[in-house]
Amino acid sequence: MRFLRIRSLLKKYDHLLTIPVIIGALIILFWVITALSIDLWQPYDPLEMVSRRLQPPSTKHLLGTDALGRDVFSRTLHGARHSIPIAMMVVISAVTIGSLLGAVAGYSGKWIDGFVMRLVDVTLAFPPILLAMAVAAALGPGLRNASIAMVVVWWPVYARLMRAQTLEVRERDHVEAAIASGVSRTRLLFVHILPVCWTPVLINATMDFGQAVLLLASLSFIGLGATPPTPEWGAMISEGAKFFYYWWIALGPGVSILLVVLGFNFIGDGLRDYFDPRTSD
């Protein structure tokens, strides 16, 4: 009986669970598990000098050692502990702040709408990386400040998205009925509007998880995100650039970023195809 139920469940989501989506999910699952558990099974301490510097990959050090004699493989795996939670936190914060502001702007009209949208416009006037650089430079280096910079860069996209959705949904019957029956603003927002608008937000957010990992790595690469000796992927690639003759230093972190972003892209694409079959095959 249970077997049949699982089968029918799988069938229901058949369109969603395509091969790319499954691969993507597996990749992300791997990294999340790694991020959570790496402390238990790390080959070496990522911050300790364990061997001679700049050694090529060997059986002892799968990805060799870096300029300070640390095991690159361990550091690569540890990178997930920083990149993935931060990326998720940043996107979720941006989504939350942006969606709330956007929805509020959408149905409040005039004043608030105008103010929020002006704020959105000014923020979106900046090329994203320059804004992130300027904010991160002003706040100082560090993962925390880089996260703040990224949230500042991202919230307007969701504000706009949510606002457009809200404006459209506002016209719908059940909402008009709710307004007519004098439902409170908060209830209106949380019960009637937001639940209907979440699909594009979800798709966008999934893709943005990957972009967040990329942006964090970019900021760290420039020197604004992770401070040494933190084993963050972007920072490791920066070090690898200084020693690019020793190619193994940058290999691990680069491949990791690629896999994570691909994973999120696959899932996001799958979600988009599932919710909006027009754009699929």
Binding site: L68, P141, P228
Partner: protein, 540 residues
């Protein structure tokens, strides 16, 4: 139906592939496999850190190289980096009390525009240097008067440190500029220079010295080009053009050197040098005059435990200097006992530091910390003269752990470090490159006497810390201000001993200098002032 579009795509793909291959191959055919550059052009790879090309505002390592090539000083250092030789001044006299110098200018000396070098140019130069009050002006501080009444003779009077004047006048920043041309372009030498002088921008595009080279072009972050001065009054050098390319990474520099794209690479470190396989590259290792040092800051506000003299001595005794050299330089360097380099006045014959863990632990116990304590180290995450500061700090961390001190490392960028000198850095590591042959620079910078830079920094930027002030050093400084060269040498020696026993500044290694260049480059040597005197170089 399908066949037609199938062909269409196939055709497009084919065209694209062919174009790509053609582009790559043709560029391969026409490529100038990096051939040896012409014999009279010198191409140099260097990580440029130029902050200005105005001789009285510039202050950086690359500046010394470049400004040293574009401007000539009154006197210069010989190849032994010690003997003073004539340059713009063909001879000079010193008064009996040692405080007045008379320089006789060479009558053949002319600037790049043909006009003669006269005493008024020297006066203008020195006064502008002093009055702009920029970084390098500290080397002109002791000059109290410049008399240019006779166009062929300059009389310079100093108010202090008479033994240093000749050394300081050889610094590139003392290069004599053409006062007429400079004035015409906004240069001002009087006391209101900081507000009135507008010539810096012009200096970024033009040079007005008397040396064999003039500025051809400068593109920040890219390159700087010097070309021959056709009116040069001395022996014309073999190299007619110098191109210094900005190459930030030692690995890239090594690559360009091996492939022959550059003739000289200036910042290759020991590790990278090991990877060079090309037989046409010469690597020469020799002692240098720069050193890296660990600094303890007793005046920091975030200390777990006060850095009293006993505690500082314990820390100094725990450091394994030989091991440090091994780990950071692979042994290619020397242990330097004090801040004064061994070859400098007063730097020789000093007791070498030796690790003594037993005594260190005893001192700590006496100071009331038998179980050690925590110590924060905020330091620039960079490589200086081939030494990675992070590697150094890790070794220091390991050494101090043996006596119970737990060091927490906080690497930051140089820019961030400078902005944090508000007393929140208990320990750090920095470097010093000698600007000229003379020991006053060390006293003026490192002495624990109010008024010096390190007193200011070590006191937590309060400039007022009684227990830090070293009165013996203050007394030595007073004497040095009036001492002759022979007297000064003894006084510097005493000073060095005081600094060693203070344990505030702990030198941790004097790296060897690596000269890395192509085999066909002749005349390479290390010069304190300009690093590499390009005017002595020729190519086979």
């Amino acid at each position: 139906m399908k066949s037609l579009t199938h062909n269409h795509f196939q055709k497009t793909a084919f065209i694209i592939v062919v174009t790509l291959v053609f582009a790559t191959v043709s560029s391969g055919i026409f490529s100038r496999q990096a051939e040896a550059a012409k014999k009279d052009v010198l191409v140099v790879a260097r990580a440029m850190d130029i902050n200005s090309l105005d001789p009285h505002i510039a202050f950086c390592d690359t500046c010394k190289v470049v400004i040293g090539m574009m401007y000539e000083t009154l006197i210069k250092l010989g190849a032994d980096n010690k003997t003073i030789l004539p340059q713009l001044a063909r001879n000079w006299e010193v008064s009996g009390d040692g405080m007045t110098y008379t320089f006789y200018l060479d009558e053949y000396a002319v600037f790049s525009d043909g006009s003669p070098v006269e005493s008024k140019d020297v006066k203008f130069t020195i006064e502008r240097w002093q009055n702009l009050k920029q970084d390098s002006s500290m080397y002109a501080k002791s000059i109290s008067k410049v008399d240019a009444s006779d166009p062929r003779k300059v009389v310079i009077t100093v108010s202090s440190w008479p033994s240093e004047l000749l050394g300081q006048l050889a610094v590139p920043y003392a290069g004599i500029i053409n006062s007429d041309v400079a004035r015409a372009n906004g240069a001002v030498s009087t006391a209101d220079a900081p507000k009135k002088d507008k010539a810096e921008a012009w200096f970024m595009k033009n040079s007005v010295g008397s040396s064999p080279y003039v500025l051809e072009s400068y593109r920040p972050d890219e390159e700087i080009r010097l070309k021959q001065n056709p009116k040069y009054w001395g022996k014309k050098p073999a190299i007619k053009r110098i191109i210094i390319k900005h190459v930030p990474e030692p690995v890239s520099q090594a690559q360009m050197l091996e492939s022959g794209q550059v003739d000289i690479a200036m910042q290759i470190d020991a590790d990278t040098a090991k990877t060079i396989r090309n037989k046409n590259v010469v690597i020469k290792s020799q002692p240098s005059y720069y050193f890296n040092y660990v600094a303890l800051v007793p005046g920091a506000t975030n200390l777990e435990v006060p850095l009293t003299p006993k505690v500082r001595e314990a820390i100094a005794l725990a450091i394994d200097h030989e091991g440090m050299l091994d780990v950071t330089l692979g042994g290619a360097g020397r242990v330097q006992p004090s801040v004064i380099p061994v070859e400098f006045p007063g730097g020789g014959g000093l007791p070498m530091p030796k690790q003594n863990l037993v005594k260190a632990r005893k001192l700590l116990a006496e100071a009331g910390h038998p179980n050690g304590f925590g110590l924060l180290a905020v330091y620039p995450d960079m490589t200086s003269f081939g030494v990675s500061f992070s590697v150094v700090m890790q070794k220091v961390q390991q050494d101090l752990r043996k006596i119970g001190i737990k060091v927490k490392l906080e690497p930051v960028t140089m820019a961030v470090l400078r902005s944090r000198t508000g007393g929140t850095i208990p320990m750090t590591i920095l470097m010093w490159a000698a600007d000229y042959m003379g020991s006053a620079q060390y006293v003026q910078y490192f002495a624990m006497v109010p008024g010096t830079t390190w007193y200011y920094l070590a006191s937590g930027t309060t400039n007022d810390m009684k227990e830090l002030t070293n009165h013996r050093e203050a007394a030595l400084m007073e004497k040095l201000q009036k001492a002759s060269a022979e007297e000064a040498e003894k006084l510097y020696h005493e000073f060095a001993k005081e600094m060693i026993n203070e344990h505030v500044i702990i030198p941790i290694g004097n790296p060897n200098l690596l000269l890395t260049y192509r085999k066909n480059v002749l005349g390479m040597r290390y010069d304190i002032i300009t690093e590499i005197p390009f005017d002595e170089i020729s190519k086979r």
